[in-house]
């Protein structure tokens, strides 16, 4: 799945060719004379996510929250305009964060900074790349900018993470160039039930693939509405060809550890931290529980005295129109 082998769509040519002169395609740094230094390859994009494994990535809206996250041991922070719980409460259109705010967050911490762009909004993504963010989350938590298409992620040097509720969705995102996948869950609810459903679904879909013969794989490609080449690779590997994190509704150390036991390779926490009584303490506890996800003694110890968790929402009371997980195609 190299960038080079990806066909160029003609209607996109003008944008792509302009981008390619600066940053879009894997490029040899002008300065590195005599060396084949190549940036933006699938390997450095996917490899970046490999380095985050076993870690917690925290939603932050300003430099102050970013510092709290870094102090707590986060492996990265995710910059966004409002945390999902507030997006739910306030309504309106949720967009990419303000560039000044992102600059401030980048300046405040030494760990990687990710930022969210709206589904299909390639210009928000171009802006985020230009600001120097380390990863872009093309996220259903923001209001989608395109109801049919996702961003062509191969066209960027910066890597992308995307949400998925099942294997087909994960593979469609990977075929568009996503270098990391996360379960969607239902962000901003403080309720893990949807993240559990999506993690179990993705893992069960993968297990079924590994038992299939070639003929069955063709049928699976139809069932999952996903390219056979990526499915074949997954059937051989027994896992996605990119890192799989979990997200959406994680509010406690035990929630994070449960997702790890269900096969997540790391955890995104959104509203769960900064909508709780004691964010710094809860953040640190979730980091520790993610590392020792299989050790109940550690999880019990770090779960004490955390103050109030975010209140949370029962998903069954959420009308269909207010569910984020259905966004993405």
């Amino acid at each position: 799945m190299d960038r080079e082998s990806h066909p160029t769509s003609p209607d996109y040519l003008s944008v792509r060719s302009e981008l390619s002169s600066t940053s879009a395609q894997p490029s040899v740094p002008e300065s590195a004379a005599g060396v084949t230094g190549v940036t933006g390859t699938a390997r450095v994009k996917r490899g970046m996510a490999e380095m985050l494994k076993g870690g917690v990535i925290m939603d932050v809206i300003d430099p102050e929250q970013a510092k709290i996250a870094e102090d707590a041991g986060a492996v990265a922070v995710m910059a966004l305009e409002r945390v999902p719980a507030d997006i739910r409460r306030d309504g309106g259109v949720a967009r990419m964060s303000d560039p000044d705010m992102i600059d401030g967050i980048i300046a405040a911490v030494s760990i990687p900074v990710m930022a969210k762009a709206r589904i299909g909004h390639m210009v928000e993504a171009q802006v985020l790349q230009s600001l120097g963010v380390d990863y872009i989350d093309e996220s259903e938590v923001l209001t989608p900018a395109d109801e049919s298409h996702h961003i062509d992620k191969w066209a960027f040097t910066v890597p992308f993470v995307c949400g998925a509720t099942n294997l087909g969705e994960a593979v469609r995102r990977i075929s568009e160039g996503a270098a990391m996948i996360r379960s969607k869950g239902e962000a901003g609810t403080g309720n893990v039930v949807e993240a559990t459903r999506h993690m179990r679904q993705i893992r069960a879909d993968i297990r079924r693939l590994t038992t299939m013969d070639e003929t069955e794989l063709y049928a699976a490609a139809k069932e999952h509405q996903a390219p056979i080449e990526v499915l074949r690779e997954i059937a051989e590997l027994g896992k996605l060809p990119v890192v799989l994190f979990t997200a959406g509704g994680i509010a406690t150390p035990a929630d994070a550890a449960m997702m790890m036991q269900l096969g997540a390779e790391g955890v995104f926490v959104g509203s769960g931290i900064f909508k709780s009584g004691d964010p710094a303490k809860r953040a640190e506890a979730i980091v520790k529980a993610t590392t020792f996800f299989d050790d109940p003694d550690v999880i019990a110890k770090v779960s004490r005295g955390l103050g109030e968790a975010m209140v949370g929402i029962n998903i069954s009371t959420l009308p269909e129109s207010e569910r984020f997980a259905g966004r993405g195609w």
């Binding site: 590195a32 060396v35 940036t39 490899g47 986060a74 030494s110 980091v287 590392t291």
Partner: protein, 202 residues
């Protein structure tokens, strides 16, 4: 020849890739998260990951001091990327409270090659390794700013400014460190070299 038991520091990072590479080189590889799990190790690998997170967790779970002691006592260790930072005696651009295991007399600059958009792949000559150039993957990688007399430089690449060559692979006694991630490429020669160090053969 019996397989030496080599641990991979597993509080965070690309642990699985290192376990796999070590197994491919004939070592028995085991993940290490607790002080007791250091017992019986013939060597340890510090993986790629986020060095500030590793440092914080190593302190919180009482792994840092025992590991420092083990390395001071001669335990062979190899660090890639964040692992290189963990083996450095001094770190630039780290957090003020960032603790390292140390052991290699060098100063490492964190994220020296830039942010993720600057992450790159390049071929380099790795002294001591036979065969073709090593294809190296650098991800928000550090470089070695300066080394003491005891440190042997094993590899360099041109810096992003085009001029000065930057040190990206070093060895001091039983300690080995690279800015790049051989565990991501399927080329196990660097891990083989480390396992040979563990076996006392090089």
């Amino acid at each position: 020849m019996t397989a030496p038991l080599v641990g991979v520091f597993a509080l965070q990072g690309d642990v699985r890739e290192h376990l796999r590479a070590l197994e491919a080189c004939g070592a028995a590889a085991v993940a290490v998260r607790r002080p007791a799990e250091l017992a019986g190790l013939a060597g340890i690998v510090l993986p790629g990951g986020e060095s500030t997170t590793m440092s914080k967790l190593a302190v919180a779970f009482d792994l840092l001091e025992p590991l420092r002691e083990a390395v001071r006592g001669g335990l062979p260790a190899y660090g890639s990327c964040a692992g290189m930072i963990m083996l450095a005696d001094a770190v630039l651009d780290g957090r003020p409270d960032q603790e390292t295991v140390g052991g290699i007399d060098m100063t490492v600059r964190r994220n020296a090659f830039g942010r993720q958009v600057d992450s790159f792949e390049a071929d380099l000559h790795f002294a001591e390794l036979a065969g073709p150039a090593v294809h190296a993957v650098f991800i928000r990688a550090p470089w070695v700013e300066s080394v003491g007399e005891q440190v042997r430089v094993l590899g360099t690449v041109p810096g992003p400014d085009g001029g000065e060559a930057r040190i990206v692979a070093v060895r001091q006694g039983n300690l080995l460190a690279t800015s790049f991630h051989p565990e991501l490429t399927g080329d196990t020669r660097v891990h083989h070299y480390f396992v040979d160090i563990v076996r006392g053969q090089v």
